[in-house]
């Protein structure tokens, strides 16, 4: 019987090797796999490339991972935030490499990796410094830039419900990068509020089919926690 259920976040991430490329889902706190990031911090792998929309906030989570100097490179769209001081300092010191990608190109490059597309022409970024040195082409009178897929060794994502086959549903805008990152990684790990019995998820409403998910960790309902009340 297939069971993709991991006992703990630590168990789910035990085999991440130094030098791995790790996708981390979430946009703001929505969809951020908080427990998995903490487990990665604990796990100790270094020399990592991280693919994530942002570069961490404050001094916890992804910011702490970056602060530990175990991230050699980050591929993201928006590292600069009011409280991204850990990334900011390392970047200014030349101690972390940044590949800045427009958010939609980031999403499409991740999607391309999952869907077996070798490269694609996108209009986003044409004529800007972020497209410098990239191949361009005029197609039907419009200018496009060639972009390549982004693959990962691991994807760490957050979802709402899972079953033992790894089928996932999400809640509202926390869906963001989860489905595409799950498709682009060799090993995809999802933390979910609850794991439900097989058959409880509506097959029409499954957003990420289990084929894209290798491990699920139940991390409990998030909405009783006081900390959410003043999230802004």
């Amino acid at each position: 019987m297939i069971s993709k259920i991991s006992e703990s976040a630590a168990a789910a991430l035990a085999d991440i090797a130094d030098g791995s490329t790790i996708m981390i889902g979430g946009f703001g706190l929505a969809g951020q796999p908080v427990q998995l990031i903490d487990a990665l911090l604990e796990q100790g792998a270094s020399d990592l490339t991280v693919v994530s929309n942002n570069a961490g906030n404050g001094d916890t989570g992804l910011a702490a991972l970056i602060g530990s100097k175990r991230v050699k490179k980050i591929i993201c769209s928006f590292p600069r935030q009011v409280d991204s001081y850990i990334f900011d300092a390392l970047y200014r010191a030349g101690e972390i490499e940044l590949e800045l990608v427009p958010q939609g190109n980031l999403a499409e490059r991740i999607r391309a990796a999952g869907a077996g597309i070798g490269a694609f022409f996108t209009p986003t970024g044409f004529g800007t410094t972020l497209a410098e040195g990239k191949e361009t082409r005029v197609i039907n009178g419009r200018d496009y830039v060639l972009e390549h897929p982004i693959f990962a060794d691991f994807a760490l994502i957050s979802a709402y419900r899972a079953d033992r086959l790894g089928n996932l549903t999400y809640r509202k805008t926390s869906r963001n990068f989860g489905p595409i990152m799950a498709s682009a990684a060799a090993v995809s790990v999802a933390q979910v509020d609850r794991i439900v019995p097989l058959g409880d998820l509506d097959p029409e409403a499954v957003v990420t089919p289990g084929i894209f998910v290798n491990r699920v960790v139940e991390t409990g309902d998030r909405f009783e926690k006081e900390e959410w009340a003043d999230v802004r």
């Binding site: 946009f27 929505a30 769209s77 427009p102 958010q103 939609g104 999403a107 986003t124 800007t128 999400y170």
Partner: protein, 218 residues
């Protein structure tokens, strides 16, 4: 309106009048979000937020905050009947594919041919960050910019050629400012509406640009 210029709220209010019933619209972070306060109540306009939602409602009030429901500015928002959710791949595909009717953005500079500069000041010590700016710039049938026509030091932000790093080329179709409204395109900027007593000659002096006029409307 005070004299011959509009406040930011007035720019937003004027822009809102140009959004047709049934439009799908994305409002960029910052100034453009003001537009949502002035949408005519007799029109149904559907808001897109690029982090993955159509049918976004107003900002969530205290005590009704759902951490899974935020907009692109990471502000908690609400859901209207008829809403839908989708992942980033689909959401940016929706924009890139030209399905939104209008996207409203702020800007550091806009060129008379519609180039947009709003993502970077080009300062050498700045931490770079682009987010969805370049996707939004090409992400709608009509891309409107709202901004004050001149900087605080009096320099025109409508320019011949952008000096800041560009976000997109020839992408802005209309510019709403405190002094006038302009259509932009390959032939340059056309004044289509003046604020108060503002004259086209004043605008030409401020911008240093030729500026076409739309005879039908001026």
């Amino acid at each position: 309106m005070s004299g011959n210029s509009w406040s930011r709220a007035e720019i937003a209010e004027r822009l809102a009048q140009d959004i047709p019933d049934g439009a799908y619209m994305n409002l960029g972070i910052g100034l453009p979000t003001l537009v949502s306060n002035y949408l005519p109540s007799d029109r149904e306009i559907i808001l897109h937020t690029e982090n993955g939602m159509l049918g976004m409602g107003p900002e969530a009030s205290a005590g009704h905050i759902d951490p899974d429901l935020i907009n692109a500015g990471k502000i908690p928002v609400t859901e209207l009947p008829g809403a839908s959710y989708f992942h980033h791949g689909d959401s940016f595909g929706m924009m890139r594919g030209g399905h939104l009717d209008v996207c409203v953005l702020g800007a550091f500079q806009v060129s008379q041919t519609g180039d947009l500069a709003n993502w970077s000041t080009g300062a050498p010590d700045a931490i770079p960050a682009v987010g969805g700016a370049m996707d939004l710039a090409i992400g709608a049938k009509s891309v409107y910019v709202m901004m004050e026509l001149a900087s605080k030091s009096g320099v025109s932000k409508l320019v011949d050629v952008c000096t800041y790093p560009v976000t997109g080329i020839g992408c802005v179709t209309r510019l709403y400012t405190d002094r006038a409204i302009f259509d932009l395109g390959p032939a340059g900027a056309t004044v289509i509406e003046l604020v108060g007593d503002t004259t086209v000659d004043e605008l030409r002096e401020l911008t240093g640009l030729t500026l076409h006029t739309s005879n039908e409307r001026l």
